[in-house]
């Protein structure tokens, strides 16, 4: 995992570019927690709106005015309950949600004061207060065991939300995950500074503490017969597979040493305890325009890369990284280029040394090369042009797909009886953590209704 430094007059990839203190400082909390005094002041700004727009904007429909009011009232436990009842991963969502385009975008304080109530930070305040209090009594208790068994494939946000909700309802859940640790993108895919201090695993421990959930790691869905077997052994199956595949650039030089998928770079970084041992190039090029590209670019810079170019083939409005994310990249020293498409990765003795780009323009709505070209020297190149569902197995199993992802109804029911799906692998979504949680939660209720038709589904 930690290859030796590669240094030559042409290539410079090495670990330990910074002092130990500097690593700690740079990878500390991107958005530090509110102090109790700040939280109360901020909570006081909430107007407790009628039919609050923030609650409607939340994919999990957290009752935002209630949880904020409870913070102001000094009732943090009640606040956390209001949040986690609607969103069992409310702690992670408080850290990673693009609140600027969800709850905080529609806060009426924008209109009045030009800035919303900091809903995300308040949510973190309440959840952390309960989750990190070893003396806190459990917020939720598990219903009487139902003797029903559900398989959840993928222990990411969707799977975890589904498993926790089902376990609360008394069902026995077995979670299968391909990785050595559960958590999915929370553990392997987000920038380290978004969820420092091992929060993904702390949240996981809290979720599993409900009881009734068994986790089987290093289990990969690779054949259609595995799925058939799960359907035979379990009363229901939920697939929260995420998008395990990446798109290739399909250009020359993609196999050179030093070229890798951004998701792999991020996963490695997240699993590296001592960041000073992680080699980084002096010059890094990131290709892509999404959140993964931003996370890779910013973290490369934080690791001590001197120059980080992030290149996207279209304009800023087409980027899937939000304006805030782009801003974040810019303020962290990433050089952001629009209208550049990679043409070729150039090597030196088998190692990447540069990337050649073609300048692009929209002509009659079509992206076309202008003929101008540009080359950035690079010791490392991260590819982040999107991920895809590894769907061959699903197709073999006869599952209906839509645009390469799993087709489902509103509650996540797939075309296969007894199989539900949610999160990024489900077609028609926004690829957001909070949406994955909602998928998992809704499917859990649908599964519960199916397993216990006489019992009203209500949590």
């Amino acid at each position: 995992m930690s290859p030796a430094p590669i240094t030559s007059p042409v290539v410079d990839v090495r670990p330990g570019r910074l002092s130990a203190d500097e690593y700690a400082r740079r990878f500390s909390d991107a958005n530090p927690p509110l102090t109790p005094a700040q939280a109360v002041l901020e909570a006081e700004r909430c107007l407790y709106c009628f039919d609050a727009p923030c609650a409607s904007a939340c994919p999990t429909h957290i009752d935002v005015p209630s949880f904020i009011r409870r913070i102001a009232d000094g009732n943090l436990r009640g606040s956390a309950r209001a949040i986690l009842e609607a969103n069992p991963l409310g702690g992670m969502c408080a850290r990673v949600c693009p609140t600027e385009v969800l709850c905080e975008q529609v806060c009426v304080r924008n209109t009045q004061e030009g800035k919303p109530v900091q809903i995300g930070r308040l949510q973190r305040h309440a959840v952390d207060a309960v989750m990190f209090d070893p003396a806190a009594k459990a917020l939720f208790t598990r219903a009487e065991p139902t003797a029903r068994r559900v398989a959840v494939v993928g222990a990411g946000p969707a799977g975890l939300a589904c498993a926790h909700t089902l376990a609360r309802l008394g069902h026995a859940v077995t979670m299968f995950d391909a990785r050595p640790k559960a958590g999915g993108l929370n553990e392997y895919g987000l920038a380290a500074y978004k969820t420092p201090e091992g929060f993904a695993q702390r949240e996981l421990a809290w979720l599993l503490a409900i009881g009734g959930i068994e986790v089987r790691n290093n289990w990969k869905l690779e054949t259609a017969s595995q799925l058939t077997e799960l359907r035979r052994q379990y009363d229901a199956v939920f697939l929260g597979l995420g998008l395990a595949g990446t798109h290739p650039l399909k250009i020359a030089g993609e196999d050179l040493i030093g070229v890798q998928d951004a998701v792999d770079f991020i996963a490695t970084l997240r699993q590296t305890a001592d960041l000073s041992a992680l080699p980084i190039g002096r010059r890094v090029v990131v290709i892509g325009g999404g959140m993964t590209a931003v996370d890779a670019a910013v973290q490369a810079k934080l690791l001590g890369a001197h120059v980080v170019h992030m290149a996207y083939r279209r304009g800023p409005d087409a980027m899937s990284a939000s304006r805030d994310e782009q801003e974040w990249a810019l303020t962290h020293g990433v050089v952001l280029h629009h209208w550049l498409a990679p043409v070729e990765i150039l090597g030196h003795e088998g190692h990447v040394r540069a990337v050649r780009f073609a300048d692009q323009a929209l002509v009659n709505g079509q992206l076309q090369a202008t003929g101008r070209e540009l080359t950035f020297e690079a010791d490392m190149v991260f590819k982040a042009i999107g991920q895809q569902l590894l769907s061959t197995v699903l197709a073999e199993a006869g599952m209906r797909l839509s645009s390469g992802r799993i087709a489902t109804d509103e509650a996540g029911q797939t075309s296969l009886d007894g199989v539900w799906a949610g999160g990024d692998c489900r077609a028609g979504g926004l690829d957001l953590t909070v949406e994955a949680v909602e998928h998992g939660k809704r499917s859990a209720h649908a599964i519960h209704a199916r397993l216990q038709p006489a019992v009203a589904t209500k949590v």
């Binding site: 109360v40 002041l41 909570a43 006081e44 107007l47 407790y48 709106c49 009628f50 039919d51 609050a52 727009p53 102001a72 009232d73 000094g74 009426v108 304080r109 209109t111 009045q112």
Partner: protein
């Protein structure tokens, strides 16, 4: 800069802002600092009779009603009258008045309800050169258990009697400080006037318990596990005080009696409320205890700017100016019709007006129009109650519009006549006056 000089019951002060008899006026050190900061006068903390002074508790004397972000709404205390030696107080009063001749120096007094006690102390106070005395008939805690303070203020006959003794044994103006812990504030004020009082001051503090500690389940504040009701003051009591001031100012028996207004004054606008409802001076305590003496500079500056803006040449010109607008309910014009109007340009769409009206009033504000979030008053349901304007977080976003003669009230279908009609002549009033 307007001239804020005030003459009140013959007492001169460079501005109408006095410090009330309370902890801030306990001794020369504080009072000198207050005068340096710009206070127009002080009422020295209440003196008792000669002999061993009272003792205070050594636990918490103060409690507060705070917003969640710890802004102070209300304040309470269980401190007694001065716990310093009478002679020391008299010496300090003499010296401070000599050093600050232009400031009002009023001395608050509380001695047993016996003629001899008053006869003994009054000349001693007069000898200090003080400008007046204030009779503490208001203190609701501790001293009232010993038959003084509010125990006197709650019995109009005692007020009249003691006031008369003070007029008999002293040449100083006598201000009678009234307790609000009484059913009808006009009765003690009338008694004070009958006794010959030169002025009244009000309100003293209100009996109060601040709360209970949720985990020990003892009242707070508590000393050694027990507490006692204290006197409540601060911003929360201002409306109570204003009503009492106005009641005295417009009562035929007390009209014209100078009033020193007290209760929750924290800025010039609060002071203006009291002055416009009949107060010649105002007294402040809580604001000084929260912010320090410097706060008087903001009060003076604000009042002065207001007077310049309005063209008032003296504080006296403002005294009682709002009183003609205060009347009994029965004289309110029942033909007058107001309707709430929501300014869509400044509405932030929080919906508080809607839910307040929908849940607790007249169901007169819609929440959606054409499927979109939209808040608007339905005039055919609106009774002009003002609740929506009160709960709206945006200033001036919701206002009340007065219907003009000739307009139709969509709620009743009646045309506004413009003629006055009140309860005294209303057909539903069984004891109406014949037309």
């Amino acid at each position: 800069m307007a001239n804020l000089h005030t003459t009140f019951a013959g007492i001169h002060s460079p501005n109408p802002f006095w410090l009330a008899s309370a902890p801030p006026t306990d001794k020369a050190y504080n009072v000198i600092r207050a005068f340096e900061a710009g206070w127009g006068g002080v009422v020295w903390k209440t003196l008792g009779e000669a002999g061993p002074p009272v003792v205070n508790v050594n636990g918490p004397r103060y409690g507060a009603l705070l917003t969640p972000d710890r802004r102070l709404l209300g304040f309470n205390n269980i401190e007694l009258i001065t716990d310093r030696d009478l002679e020391l107080n008299l010496r300090e009063i003499t010296q401070v008045k000599r050093d600050w001749p232009d400031r009002a120096m009023v001395v608050s007094l509380m001695v047993p309800c016996e003629e001899a006690a008053w006869k003994a102390i009054l000349p001693r106070v007069e000898d200090t050169g003080a400008d007046g005395i204030e009779l503490n008939f208001g203190c609701p805690h501790g001293m009232s258990e010993r038959g003084m303070g509010a125990a006197v203020g709650q019995v109009p006959e005692y007020i009249e009697m003691v006031t008369a003794w003070c007029k008999q044994y002293s040449r100083l103006p006598v201000i009678v400080k009234l307790t609000p812990n009484i059913t009808d504030i006009r009765k003690p004020a009338q008694a004070a006037r009958r006794g010959g009082a030169d002025a009244v001051s009000l309100i003293n503090t209100i009996n109060s318990i601040m709360g209970v500690d949720p985990y020990s389940l003892t009242m707070t504040p508590a000393t050694g596990g027990k507490g006692s009701h204290g006197g409540y003051c601060g911003p929360a009591v201002k409306p109570i005080a204003l009503n009492m001031v106005a009641e005295i100012a417009r009562d035929p028996e007390t009209r014209g009696l100078p009033i020193s207004g007290i209760g929750g004054i924290g800025n010039w606008r609060d002071a203006l409320d009291f002055i416009a409802l009949g107060s010649g001076t105002v007294q402040v305590c809580t604001a000084a205890m929260v912010y320090g003496f410097k706060i008087v500079q903001e009060m003076n500056d604000g009042l002065s700017n207001y007077m310049d803006q309005m063209g008032f040449k003296s504080v006296g010109e403002i005294v009682g100016r709002a009183l003609p607008s205060v009347t009994d309910w029965r004289y309110l014009d029942l033909n007058h019709i107001s309707k709430a109007v929501i300014n869509q340009g400044s509405c932030i769409q929080c919906g508080r007006c809607h839910i307040a009206c929908e849940d607790t009033s007249h169901q007169a504000i819609i929440a959606t129009r054409d499927g979109k979030r939209h808040f608007e008053v339905m005039e055919d349901e609106c009774v002009g109650c003002n609740l929506c304007a009160v709960v709206c977080p945006v200033p001036q976003c919701i206002t009340l519009r007065d219907l003009q003669p000739g307009e139709t009230d969509l709620r009743t279908g009646k045309v506004v006549s413009g003629a006055h009609a009140d309860w005294t002549t209303h057909p539903n009033n069984p004891s109406r006056a014949s037309a």
